[in-house]
């Protein structure tokens, strides 16, 4: 067991974890933050995307111990005070989700994409979300939602 201490969604957390525990399982099973999903075991699908020190990462590719001393944000912290985040709003408005399983990862990846590029082109959105797979939507409405969020000028 290794002791780690980190900030998750603004809260300080300390925990003893097995060194082999992946960050995604630490979030899901130790902290009960089940919004972050697991869709593969080859770091392909992006369902597990969270922010680590403000940058999007696939949380299945990191060990929990690698997040020691750092700051993690998950989908649960995106909506504030009962209000959806502008990107979440845009996803809803544009019907950018069906089964919703890829959605938390997709939204987190899109949020960090927009932070880096507030006014992306369609192609930049598609390239930027390359590491996130969705089987339901065909991506079209996801891309539309991200462009819509960007156009609405909302702070992401």
């Amino acid at each position: 067991m290794t002791r780690i201490s980190l900030t998750v969604n603004g809260q300080r957390r300390e925990a003893d974890v097995e060194p082999r525990t992946l960050l995604v399982y630490f979030l899901r099973e130790h902290l009960g933050l089940t919004g972050t999903n697991v869709g593969c075991d080859t770091s392909t699908c992006g369902a597990c995307t969270v922010h680590l020190d403000g940058e999007s990462v696939k949380s299945c590719t990191l060990l929990a111990v690698q997040a020691d001393g750092r700051e993690v944000t998950t989908i649960e912290a995106l909506a504030r005070d009962g209000e959806l985040h502008p990107l979440q709003e845009a996803f809803r408005r544009n019907h950018a989700l069906q089964c919703g399983y890829c959605t938390p990862g997709m939204v987190m990846a899109a949020a960090s994409l927009l932070r880096e590029r507030p006014n992306p082109t369609e192609e930049e959105v598609r390239e930027g979300l390359e590491g996130n797979l969705c089987r339901c939507t065909g991506y079209q409405n996801i891309v539309k939602a991200v462009l819509d969020a960007a156009a609405s000028g909302a702070r992401v």
Partner: protein
């Protein structure tokens, strides 16, 4: 106050979204219960092997491992349910949750380990020692039928499971006298459905009452409950199956799986909750696959290209075992080898074949994408043969427009259709003229990048029913009806309980729209419950585009019954005859005095107190419906695409794609468009990228998302959608279905476009998936033949 707003026909935003967008949706793997153990399955690395022995001693020594069992440690009450024996003499070797003597496909379960943690269960599974004696394997249908092929089930003496056929008219005579005959051969490669949520199961036993609750990532909790009772002998009344949020299915979760029975049986045996979540790698091997056919398609026509005869001969790969509807999957497409066209004679022969591969079953479209591929590719071949344009040949062969049910040469009675209308609209949206011009220009200047234009004017059948026909004529073991209950709370809020099990379709929203309009309330005042056999005990779940087509009429009828009961109470309260009331603007109003009115919430309260009900009227405001459709429904449409092909590298790119579909009455255009776009992209991926490929010894070579070719955002084109509506005559709402049209229509459109792009080079056929390598090879082959 009465709601003046109505909802049906509008793009109401989804009720499902807020929880899914915020990470609050609960999928099965999100759940845990105290004392839970983890299960892991030991799987055969061989496609075919005799199991000489299974030794779990080392697994039991792994810290945290609680128990481990071989297949022979179980006595099942029955095999896993196979619900569609398509012929009387079909061969169906029983499939039990674990193999005992022979492993028949790579991934076949041979032992199971239970441990205190996920990691310990996996470590335990690795430590189980299985002594295999590898046997020769066969993965290809034609090889499996060849003399001397390895036998998947030795005692059967053959790899053929069944042959099913359908004949309409004098096929031999029609073919013998037709001046034009073509024969095409297509291979529909195997697909891995790849719902992004892997399967997951959690079973909690109550050892005091003998009751079991199973949370399950399934499309079919009702079917699972019956199947689990049959496999384990636990009575259905003791089984509660809950499908919480489900992360996509595409048919792969309409199955009854070994792991469900294992988790249940282990929970009973050990008296503790059991959890299992599939890894993606396991999903590739252990979740059923789709498609995998070899097709011979023949058309007979006159010199103008008017088709007189259709003849299809299909070899359908069943995999190692018949699973829930494996044999029925090709039958679902068997009436569609004539597409939307007329003719004089029709014949389809389907042979189901066992191979040492993962079982094959329904995958979005199930049988209909295969049939559509055959006819839509073949009609293009016929067009080339008689020197006609693909648009023109379709026009001269279409069934004429009809609004009343009309028989087809394929043996169906089709609800309604106007095939010219969708084609006209698609051509218009596509701007065919302009693209043909561009194509000519590139041809003339010998551009490296050529453009091809491909069409698919599909017709499909879905909305499975009526029960007596699918049971008595097609030999399906289940029913095709659907159930709904509408229950008004005292304050007028409404609960709708449905027997379908949506998992991404947005049915909660669509159903709520129908109920809201029927009862004059807001969509937000309707809560929809489903996917729990205790809460919604009756129903046949969600698959085969039945959620809208079969589910909605049940919802509508239940709501209408509530309203009819409310009418009696309203009349009584307003002291008028029922006939003096009219339903308008969301309330019952006295004719001529519209201010004298009662809304459903008002009546709900009266019905709850029961203080002043008319004689003979029971308290409460609630009604149910069991809707059994009179026929299937028949969506159709025209898809056109332009594909750019790099003639030096074989790389392809979809430049423009237009889908015009007639799915009957539309409840929510946004949801319909979402289904179309998602399905089309899935179908394009099937045409261009995806393939489950086995090597000769039966190893699945494309066993990861990457190797398999799942498309990401950059690969997906933009889809332009359009619609045309001819209401279905099958149900009173005019609804057809939309869940599968995209995957049914799109692959042949894309392949036809590629062939069209390369036809000046002499290419007449392209293998699926049309990867750059295959396209390049086709070009080289054509060049070689010309040289």
């Amino acid at each position: 106050m009465a709601a003046t707003e109505t909802f049906v026909g509008r793009s109401v935003l989804r009720k499902e979204d807020p929880e899914l967008l915020t990470g609050r949706g609960r999928y099965t793997d999100d759940l845990s219960v105290p004392g839970m153990l983890w299960m892991a399955v030991v799987r055969s690395p061989f496609a075919h092997a005799r199991i000489r022995g299974v030794d779990v001693t080392r697994a039991l020594a792994v810290p945290g491992v609680v128990a481990a069992f071989a297949g022979s440690d179980f006595r099942w009450a029955g095999p896993l349910l196979m619900a569609w024996p398509v012929t009387e003499d079909l061969k169906n070797p029983p499939h039990y949750p674990l193999a005992t003597d022979v492993a028949r496909y790579q991934g076949d379960g041979v032992a199971v380990v239970v441990a205190e943690s996920r990691g310990a269960a996996m470590d335990g599974a690795e430590a189980v020692q299985v002594d295999y004696d590898p046997l020769p394997a066969v993965t290809d249908v034609e090889a499996a039928l060849a003399e001397g092929a390895p036998l998947v089930h030795e005692d059967l003496g053959t790899n053929e499971s069944f042959t099913w056929s359908l004949t309409n008219g004098d096929v031999d005579a029609v073919f013998a006298s037709a001046p034009i005959r073509i024969e095409e051969r297509y291979r529909i490669q195997r697909q891995v459905p790849n719902a992004i949520e892997p399967r997951a199961i959690l079973v909690e036993p109550n050892i005091a009452t003998g009751q079991f609750t199973m949370w399950d990532s399934t499309q079919v909790p009702h079917v699972v409950r019956t199947a689990m009772a049959l496999a384990t002998g636990i009575s259905e009344s003791k089984l509660r199956i809950i499908a919480p949020r489900v992360g996509g299915g595409f048919g792969s979760k309409l199955q009854v799986y070994p792991e469900e029975a294992l988790a249940l049986e282990l929970a009973r045996r050990l008296g503790r909750p059991i959890k299992w979540t599939e890894t993606r790698s396991e999903n590739f091997l252990a979740t059923h696959h789709g498609r995998d056919q070899v097709q011979r398609m023949e058309l007979a026509a006159d010199e103008r290209g008017k088709i007189v005869g259709f003849r299809a001969h299909i070899l359908a790969n069943m995999g190692a075992y018949l699973r829930i509807i494996s044999p029925g999957t090709p039958v679902l497409g068997a009436f569609l080898y004539c597409g939307a066209y007329t003719g004089e004679a029709y014949q389809v022969t389907l042979t189901g074949v066992f191979t040492n591969t993962t079982p094959v079953d329904a995958y979005r479209g199930a049988g209909r994408p295969e049939a559509t591929n055959a006819i839509e590719r073949a009609i293009d071949a016929l067009a080339r043969r008689v020197g006609k344009d693909p648009v023109e040949i379709r026009r001269i062969n279409f069934m004429p427009p009809f609004t009343e049910a009309t028989p087809s040469i394929g043996g169906l009675t089709i609800d309604s259709g106007d095939y010219h209308a969708t084609l006209d609209k698609a051509i218009e949206l596509f701007d065919l003229e302009q693209l043909r011009k561009e194509q000519r220009a590139r041809r003339e200047r010998g551009d490296v990048r050529q453009i091809g234009i491909g069409l698919s004017t599909y017709l499909e059948n879905c909305g499975w029913g009526p029960s007596r026909v699918i049971g008595n004529v097609l030999r399906y073991a289940g029913g095709g009806w659907e159930a709904a209950t509408v229950r008004c709370h005292p304050t007028g809020k409404v609960v709708l309980v449905v027997g379908t099990t949506p998992h991404g379709q947005g049915s909660e929203t669509a159903y709520a729209q129908v109920v809201a309009d029927e009862l004059g309330i807001a969509v937000d005042d309707v809560d929809v419950l489903f996917g729990d056999t205790d809460v919604a005990p009756s129903g046949w779940d969600t698959y085969g585009s039945r959620g809208a087509a079969v589910g909605t009429p049940a919802v509508h009828r239940a709501a209408r019954r509530v309203r009819e009961k409310a009418r009696a109470i309203a009349a009584h309260e307003l002291e008028v005859a029922e006939d003096d009331l009219e339903w308008s603007d969301g309330a019952f109003r006295v004719r001529g005095a519209p201010d004298q009115a009662r809304t459903i919430p008002q009546i709900a309260f009266s019905a709850w107190t029961g203080h002043n009900l008319p004689d003979g009227v029971e308290p409460g405001l609630e009604a149910s419906s069991f809707f059994d459709p009179e026929n299937l429904v028949f969506p159709y449409g025209a898809h056109i695409c332009a594909v750019e092909v790099d003639t030096e590298t074989g790389a392809t790119r979809v430049l423009r794609y237009v889908a015009v579909d007639d799915v009957g009455t539309v409840i929510n255009p946004m949801l319909v468009e979402g289904q179309v776009i998602g399905g089309v992209v899935q179908g394009i991926a099937e045409a261009l990228y995806e393939e489950a490929l086995y090597d000769e010894s039966g190893n699945l070579v494309t066993s990861s998302m990457q190797a398999y070719g799942l498309p990401g955002p950059p690969e997906a084109p933009t889809i332009i959608t359009g619609s045309h509506v001819t209401p279905s005559t099958t149900n009173e709402l005019g609804i057809k279905g939309v869940g599968e049209t995209g995957t049914i229509a799109s692959p042949p459109a894309v392949l036809n476009a590629i062939v069209d792009a390369l036809s000046p080079l002499g290419v007449t056929e392209i293998e699926r998936p049309a990867t750059p390598e295959k396209v390049w090879r086709a070009i080289q082959r054509a060049k070689g033949e010309r040289a």
